[in-house]
């Protein structure tokens, strides 16, 4: 008695609600006795009933259709990631292919140049020796004609020619060695640059992918949230959500 908030309720509904809520929000005081309610009591009770109905239906929907933002975001992140993965995989593969090609070509070019330097050195040294032999022969012939073949002058001349040829060979080899070092240094730097570019490229592509997946994941999560709110509005029905379909356009027009 005294639970005027149940005025107008069916017995079953009132019993069920009382058992569930212990009559919270329904007690209006007084000892019952069937006295007339004042207008403000009737309005207050009706409003309270409406609020209780809203709470009950809202709870029903939330229980049946739970919405945990983080969980939905994780799901959407996975979905968006799967959708964008082909693009980023393709982009990364294209980038790495470019790096690999440059690295391979760089190594090939280096080997080619080193081989050419080596061959050129071999040729030069061979030709230098031939020229030395010819110069010594010519010198010996001259000393022989002058009966000075066994003289110290001839030997001195031969020594000078050999020293000069040896000096030219050393000079050439020094230059070839410098070129070889230069080619090796260029190749080494190219490889270092490519390694750095690869790392930066991987990082940038991965960063863009993560940002894009996160952005679109949030957008899809927001849409899922809006959709759920719409479905909840429809479930609650009038008078809690009148015109829910009328608002659907403005709900989504800025989110899609």
């Amino acid at each position: 008695m005294g639970y005027g908030g149940y005025a107008g309720w069916g017995d079953r509904e009132a019993d069920a609600d009382f058992n569930a809520t212990s009559g919270q929000g329904k007690y209006t005081g007084g000892g019952g006795g069937g006295g007339l309610q004042s207008a403000d009591q009737i309005i207050s009770n009706s409003y309270q009933k409406m609020l209780d109905d809203y709470g009950t239906k809202s709870k029903e929907f939330d229980t049946t259709n739970p919405f945990a933002f983080d969980e939905v975001l994780a799901t959407k992140r996975t979905e968006v990631g799967a959708r964008l993965d082909p693009y980023y995989t393709q982009t990364l593969n294209d980038f790495l292919r470019g790096i690999t090609t440059r690295r391979t070509r760089g190594a090939q070019d280096e080997q080619t140049v080193l081989a050419e330097i080596s061959a050129d050195a071999q040729n030069y040294l061979g030709r230098n020796k031939e020229l030395l032999d010819q110069a010594i022969d010519s010198s010996n012939q001259g000393f022989s004609n002058a009966n000075l073949f066994f003289s110290g002058a001839r030997m001195r001349k031969e020594g000078l020619l050999a020293k000069e040829a040896g000096q030219k060979g050393e000079d050439y080899m020094t230059a070839a060695g410098r070129r070889t070092e230069e080619v090796g240094l260029t190749g080494s730097r190219l490889r270092e640059d490519l390694t750095s570019q690869e790392a930066l490229g991987r990082r940038d592509i991965e960063r863009e992918k993560v940002a894009r997946v996160e952005t679109e994941g949030l957008k899809e999560t927001n849409l899922a949230q809006l959709r759920r709110d719409l479905e909840k509005s429809q479930y609650l029905g009038s008078p809690f959500s009148s015109g829910s379909l009328s608002n659907i356009s403005s709900y989504f027009s800025n989110a899609i």
Binding site: L84, Y87, S246, I248, S249, I256
Partner: protein, 248 residues
């Protein structure tokens, strides 16, 4: 005495009928908006626009979920789209599905938006009719009360006059006594009640507008017409003209 007051019965009946009519009109004006709103909303709920809107909403919600899959390579002939291209296509598909819903909503809003206008106009009309009926009832009530007050006063004067006559006093005359005489002895009447004089069977000398001796009939040039006023209902329960009570 009872017969004298019964002559006001037609006015009392008129007052009662108009009061009831005014009460009914006021009640109708109060409940009409709610009834009309409920009825029109029920009508609207069966309108084809509701189905169109539901279909458009279902299509949009389906497209909302299906659009992302449409840009996958397997659904684009093997072409891998970049994220901007994917986003543009997804948004485009969703916006395309939203358009029918927006137009259906506009049609619905147009129809549902008319309901308050209709209810408002009908409510104002009913309120005006209620006000008019209340005004008519008020006038009828005032007329009845005025006549009743005068009759009561005349009764009192008559009693005073009889006392004076019995005590040998002089005559007593004023307009109320004439009114009382008119009520007690109505023109052509048969004593205490208000009875209409028989319709004359001659042509009046005065021509159009001439009245019968009791002024209950008026000649319109071709025939006699009753000068009595009809009371609401048209059941023949007419009353004498108010002027017949005030004639000199």
């Amino acid at each position: 005495m009872q017969d004298n007051f019964s002559s006001l019965d037609p006015y009392l009946q008129d007052y009662t009928a108009k009061s009831q009519k005014a009460a009914g009109a006021a009640s109708y004006a109060t409940t009409l908006p709610d009834l009309l709103t409920k009825t029109l909303n029920e009508k609207l709920s069966t309108s084809p626009v509701i189905g169109e809107r539901s279909t458009a909403a279902s299509n949009f919600l389906r497209e909302l979920g299906a659009a992302p899959a449409s840009v996958l390579p397997q659904n684009m002939g093997g072409v891998v789209l970049n994220p901007n291209e994917q986003a543009a296509i997804i948004s485009g598909r969703r916006a395309t599905a939203l358009t029918p819903l927006m137009t259906a909503n506009q049609r619905y809003d147009l129809l549902s938006g008319q309901i308050p206008d209709i209810v408002g106009a009908a409510g104002r009309s009913a309120q005006a009719q209620a006000t008019l009926a209340q005004g008519e009832a008020g006038i009828a009530g005032e007329t009845y009360k005025t006549l009743l007050d005068r009759m009561i006063q005349e009764e009192q004067f008559s009693l005073e006059r009889q006392k004076l006559a019995q005590s040998g006093g002089g005559g007593f005359d004023n307009s109320f006594s004439k009114l009382l005489d008119a009520i007690l002895n109505p023109p052509g009447g048969g004593g205490g009640g208000q009875t209409r004089e028989p319709e004359p069977n001659y042509s009046p000398v005065g021509g159009v507008g001439a009245t019968s001796p009791g002024k209950d009939w008026v000649f319109n040039g071709q025939k006699w017409e009753s000068a009595w006023e009809p009371i609401d209902g048209g059941d023949g329960n007419d009353r004498p003209p108010l002027s017949s009570f005030l004639q000199p």
